[in-house]
């Protein structure tokens, strides 16, 4: 932030700082639930939130005579600004991935749904940031949450296939609950009997410690 306006340009994942003027004063155009499916709407909201949180910290930091002292004092807020920046990175990379050619029937569509779920889930979870920085209104927040709920319904029929895509063998996953064929309960029951405690019906220690109690 301190280099903004100088000839040292922000690069890489901080490139959005180049548009700091716009991002400091824009407000989201989302009017309808569908608007929250647009990558541009999502991206702008996340970028504006990240920029505004960084700039706010920088402004408060500038009031300290000793910057190092200021950094320590404000570090909890700085962490939140850092989180906002990093979440933006993940969201933007997901959106970039979807702009590439992705073969396979319905594959890209599913990934778009997951991308929107990831973004809107974060937006809802960190709503305080988005509202307090004025990036979105509480009305926009509410329709975003409605959209998120509808996205869950779209994932539901595809959920098992989506985790099948990880292509894990039962051996590698090592989980009765997550076994490929879903035959969970009989297998849980079967596994139980392998425990060393089940070597005998009457456990070691019963006669020595418990029987005297029962018989006293």
């Amino acid at each position: 932030v301190s280099q903004l306006g100088s000839d040292k340009k922000p690069v890489g994942t901080t490139a959005y700082f180049l548009r700091v003027e716009h991002l400091m004063q824009c407000s989201s155009i989302a009017q309808k639930a569908e608007d929250w499916l647009k990558p541009s709407v999502i991206l702008e909201a996340f970028e504006a939130r990240a920029v505004r949180m960084s700039v706010a910290c920088a402004q408060r930091l500038s009031k300290f005579a000793n910057p190092e002292e200021g950094f320590l004092e404000l570090s909890a807020d700085l962490v939140e600004a850092a989180v906002a920046h990093c979440q933006l990175i993940v969201v933007s990379k997901f959106i970039e991935k979807l702009q590439q050619n992705i073969p396979g029937k319905g594959v890209k569509k599913q990934l778009e749904i997951l991308c929107n779920i990831y973004a809107l889930f974060l937006l809802h979870k960190h709503l305080g940031d988005f509202l307090s920085t004025g990036v979105i209104s509480s009305k926009q927040a509410s329709i975003a949450n409605d959209q998120l709920r509808s996205l869950y319904s779209q994932v539901r029929p595809n959920a098992i296939a989506l985790v099948d895509a990880f292509n894990y063998t039962d051996h590698f996953l090592g989980s009765v609950l997550g076994r490929y064929d879903g035959n969970v309960y009989p297998k849980l029951y079967e596994e139980a009997w392998k425990d060393p405690l089940n070597d005998s019906v009457v456990p070691d220690g019963f006669h020595e410690y418990i029987r005297p109690m029962l018989k006293q």
Binding site: L72, L197, G205, I210
Partner: protein, 438 residues
């Protein structure tokens, strides 16, 4: 020496008085302090080797401790309050938790006077060991979905307890796998072809002579659980019934009963009585949350004062981690939560007595609110505490991952609280339902 002496000198409040506030009263503090020292000073209660024992050794050791604790309780003529404090400081999940915490209260809550007179003395003297067999392999939070059946046979004046499917196997009840001789079993009551929903029955599981399971009963341990040590000191069990017969009078009949002819009769004691027990159990869970949270916070706070990292100017002494705002912003809200949960737990104790008194006076007006409120507080405090213990592990840096830090085992023992006695999300929905109705 006391590395934290300089820290303690900084305090600007009276610690001894705060101890009383935390304990709840001077009386509670004195008992807790005395019993804590008693347990800490007795080598028989050592617990630093739990993570090194095999499961069989660990379990046998738990039986030894439980028997030893019982002997000490009798020798020292401890009161019920002192005995429960002793079990708290022994700090090891064991069959005794369910015998005293669920089996006895269930008989007290749902047994008729005669049934209490018959079973409670046996339970109090530990001449029988009981557990609470409700949850099944296929059903947990939805009690009304349980599949185990109890069909009345008017010919023999008995109930036939049966596990019709694999998923109806009882699964999880603590103490069931290896130790318990009896259980309160929850099953669908069926009489003259009618299903009257889930009711409780006292069922003997094992012979009191050779401890072998009785005819038609299959019992075992459900296998290792999360963490080494932790809940593996407990024989959570699996139980299947193959048409096991019990006398009719072993149905807990305070709320409803079946006559000799097999007629289902609702006694005038309303079903809500069961809620009283539920409020009691949830109140203990909330106060457990404050205890578990305070242990994690105590470890993380002290270590954060000991641990120094970065911050030194020109090679001087590094900064204490507890002086970093980021550490404070993560740790101090958890410290505050420990006290917050403590005081809401104290209020719940009051609420429980209030609900019980109102039930005695047939006043059910506050019951739905009390039920929703305790469901929500159980959910909120246990979720927050489980997350907080994990946060405290991270607050201790890499060393928090060592078993010797105490945090892995505390986490492993504590996190089941988020799903037992009602899944936390399901409980919050009960609160929401009540809010919408309101």
């Amino acid at each position: 020496g006391d590395h934290l002496a300089s820290e303690r000198k900084k305090a600007n409040f009276d610690v001894d008085e705060m101890k009383i506030v935390w304990a709840g009263s001077r009386h509670a503090f004195e008992i807790s302090d005395r019993i804590a020292r008693l347990v800490a000073s007795d080598l028989a209660f050592r617990k630093d080797n739990r993570t090194m024992l095999s499961r069989k050794e660990l379990f046998k050791n738990t039986l030894r401790k439980a028997a030893y604790a019982w002997k000490r309780i009798i020798e020292l003529r401890l009161t019920e309050e002192e005995a429960s404090k002793l079990r708290f400081y022994v700090d090891e999940p064991a069959f005794t938790d369910l015998h005293w915490g669920m089996f006895v209260p269930a008989i007290k809550g749902q047994g008729t006077e005669e049934q209490q007179q018959k079973w409670l003395p046996l339970a109090y003297k530990m001449q029988i060991i009981g557990c609470y067999a409700q949850t099944e392999l296929g059903h947990g939070s939805n009690v009304q979905g349980l599949e185990t059946t109890a069909t009345f046979d008017p010919q023999t004046d008995e109930f036939i307890i049966n596990s019709p499917t694999l998923t109806s196997s009882k699964w999880w009840p603590g103490g069931l796998g290896k130790v318990s001789t009896h259980a309160v079993v929850y099953a669908r009551l069926i009489t003259d072809g009618q299903d009257h929903g889930v009711h409780g029955f006292i069922v003997q599981l094992r012979s009191l002579d050779d401890h072998l399971p009785l005819e038609g009963i299959t019992i075992g341990d459900i296998g290792m659980k999360f963490g080494n040590g932790a809940y593996n000191t407990m024989d959570n069990g699996v139980l299947r019934f193959d048409n096991v017969r019990i006398p009719r009078n072993q149905m807990l009949m305070r709320v409803s009963r079946v006559t000799r002819e097999g007629k289902y009769v609702h006694s005038n004691v309303p079903r809500q009585l069961v809620y009283g027990t539920m409020v009691f159990v949830r109140q203990t869970i909330v106060s457990d949350a404050s205890c578990a949270l305070s242990r994690a916070v105590c470890i993380a706070t002290r270590y954060s004062a000991v641990r120094r990292q970065f911050g030194s100017q020109k090679g001087g002494v590094e900064t204490q981690v507890i002086d970093y705002k980021t550490q404070q912003s993560r740790l101090f809200p958890l410290l505050a939560s420990a006290y917050a949960f403590r005081f809401v737990g104290e209020w719940l104790k009051w609420l429980y007595t209030d609900v019980t008194e109102r039930l005695q006076a047939n006043d059910f007006s506050t019951l739905p609110e009390a039920h929703a409120c305790t469901a929500g507080l159980k959910s909120l405090t246990t979720s927050a505490t489980a997350d907080a213990i994990e946060e405290c592990r991270k607050l201790c840096g890499g060393h928090g991952y060592l078993c010797s830090s105490g945090l892995p085992e505390l986490f492993a023992v504590y996190v089941p609280a988020c799903t037992y006695e009602g899944d936390n999300i399901v409980l919050l929905l009960q609160v929401a339902r009540f809010l919408m109705k309101t």
